[in-house]
C-alpha cells in the first residue's frame, strides 16, 4: 500500500476505530484483528497507534473504557461509545461522503 493512501487513512483513524466500537463494545486486539480482516490485510494498524487513538478518544469523551473478564493474565479493557461519540461519528461519515462526492468528480480514470 502506497504511503500517500495510508496518509489519507491515518487522517480518518479516529472515525474508523470509533465505527468498530460503535458496532459493539470491543478491545484493542479485537479491533486490530477486525481491521486486518475487513480490509483483507491491506491495512494493518500498528498497536502503538491504536492505543494512542484510544487515549485521545477517551480524553475527548467519545468513548469510555471498562474492565471485562479475565483472560491472559489480567482483565481485558473494553471500550464503549458514548452519545457524543455517536454524534461525532455521524458527522465524520457525512463529511466524508460529501468530500468523496466532490473528489470523485475529478478522480475518474484518465482516458
Amino acid at each position: 500500500m502506497s504511503s500517500i493512501s495510508s496518509d489519507i487513512i491515518r487522517g480518518h483513524l479516529d472515525a474508523i476505530i470509533l465505527r468498530l466500537i460503535y458496532e459493539k463494545d470491543t478491545y484493542g486486539y479485537e479491533i486490530s484483528n477486525e481491521i486486518a480482516n475487513r480490509t483483507n490485510n491491506k491495512f494493518e494498524i500498528k498497536e502503538a497507534t491504536l492505543y494512542a487513538v484510544f487515549q485521545r478518544l477517551v480524553k475527548k469523551g467519545l468513548i469510555e473504557s471498562y474492565l471485562g473478564d479475565i483472560s491472559f493474565g489480567s482483565r481485558r479493557r473494553y471500550y464503549h461509545i458514548t452519545d457524543e461519540g455517536k454524534q461525532y461519528l455521524e458527522e465524520e461519515i457525512r463529511t466524508w461522503q460529501n468530500a468523496r462526492e466532490i473528489i470523485d468528480i475529478f478522480m475518474e480514470d484518465l482516458k
Binding site: E47, A48, Y51, Q55, S74, R76
Partner: protein, 199 residues
C-alpha cells in the same frame, strides 16, 4: 515476567510514570499476550509469534505524546488552582491591611509595603501557570512586571516621604539591569533558534 512484558517495560521506560501509564501497560501486555497465543495456535512457534507481536506494535512516540499531553493537562490544572487560591488570598490580605491602615492610623499610608510583599505570591504563580500552559519561557515578562512593581514602590516612598529629594532614579537604575539582562538573554536565544532552523 514474559518476553512481552519485558519489551513493554522497556518501551515505556522513557515515559514518566502515572496511573494511566500503568493501566495502559497492563492493557497492552494483556492484548499482546492474546495475540501471541492466537499466532501460536495458527501454527507459529512461540519465538516467531513474540517477534511478530513486538514488530507489529510499532513506534511508541504517538502514545508518548498522548500520555505527556494528559500529564501536562493535570499539571496546568493544578497550577491554575493554586493561582486562584493565591489571588483570593492576596485580595483578602490586601483588604485587611487597607482596613487596619485607614481605621487605626489614617494619617500615615503604610499599607503599600505589606501589599507589595503579598503581591509577589499571585504574580509568581500567575507566571508559573502561563509557563506551563503555553510552554513559553517567562523570564522577560516576569522581570518587566517585577521592575514596574519595584519602581512603583520606590516612586511612592520617594514622593510620599521625601518629596524634596529625587533619589528614586538610583535604585531604579540598579533594578533596570534585571529586565535588560532578560531581554538580552531572550534575544540571544531567539537568534540561536534561527541559526538552528537555517541549518
Amino acid at each position: 515476567m514474559n518476553e512481552i512484558e519485558i519489551h513493554i517495560n522497556k518501551l515505556f521506560g522513557k515515559i514518566s510514570d502515572s496511573k494511566r501509564k500503568q493501566e495502559l501497560m497492563q492493557e497492552i501486555t494483556q492484548n499482546l499476550n492474546e495475540k501471541v497465543s492466537d499466532l501460536v495456535s495458527q501454527g507459529q512457534t512461540r519465538e516467531q509469534a513474540v517477534k511478530k507481536a513486538i514488530e507489529d506494535f510499532g513506534d511508541i512516540d504517538d502514545l508518548k505524546d498522548e500520555l505527556d499531553n494528559n500529564a501536562k493537562g493535570a499539571k496546568v490544572k493544578k497550577a491554575g488552582l493554586s493561582l486562584a487560591f493565591s489571588v483570593w488570598g492576596a485580595v483578602l490580605i490586601t483588604g485587611l491591611f487597607l482596613f487596619i491602615n485607614y481605621y487605626f492610623t489614617p494619617k500615615v499610608i503604610w499599607w503599600v509595603f505589606p501589599v507589595f510583599a503579598v503581591i509577589w505570591w499571585p504574580m509568581s504563580l500567575f507566571f508559573h501557570w502561563i509557563r506551563l500552559k503555553n510552554e513559553v519561557s517567562i523570564g522577560l515578562p516576569f522581570s518587566i512586571c517585577s521592575f514596574i512593581l519595584i519602581v512603583g514602590v520606590l516612586l511612592f516612598i520617594n514622593f510620599y516621604f521625601s518629596p524634596r529629594t529625587i533619589w528614586f532614579v538610583y535604585p531604579t537604575f540598579a533594578v533596570l539591569w534585571w529586565p535588560l539582562a532578560m531581554l538580552y538573554l531572550s534575544l540571544r536565544n531567539k537568534s540561536k533558534e534561527e541559526e538552528m532552523t537555517d541549518d
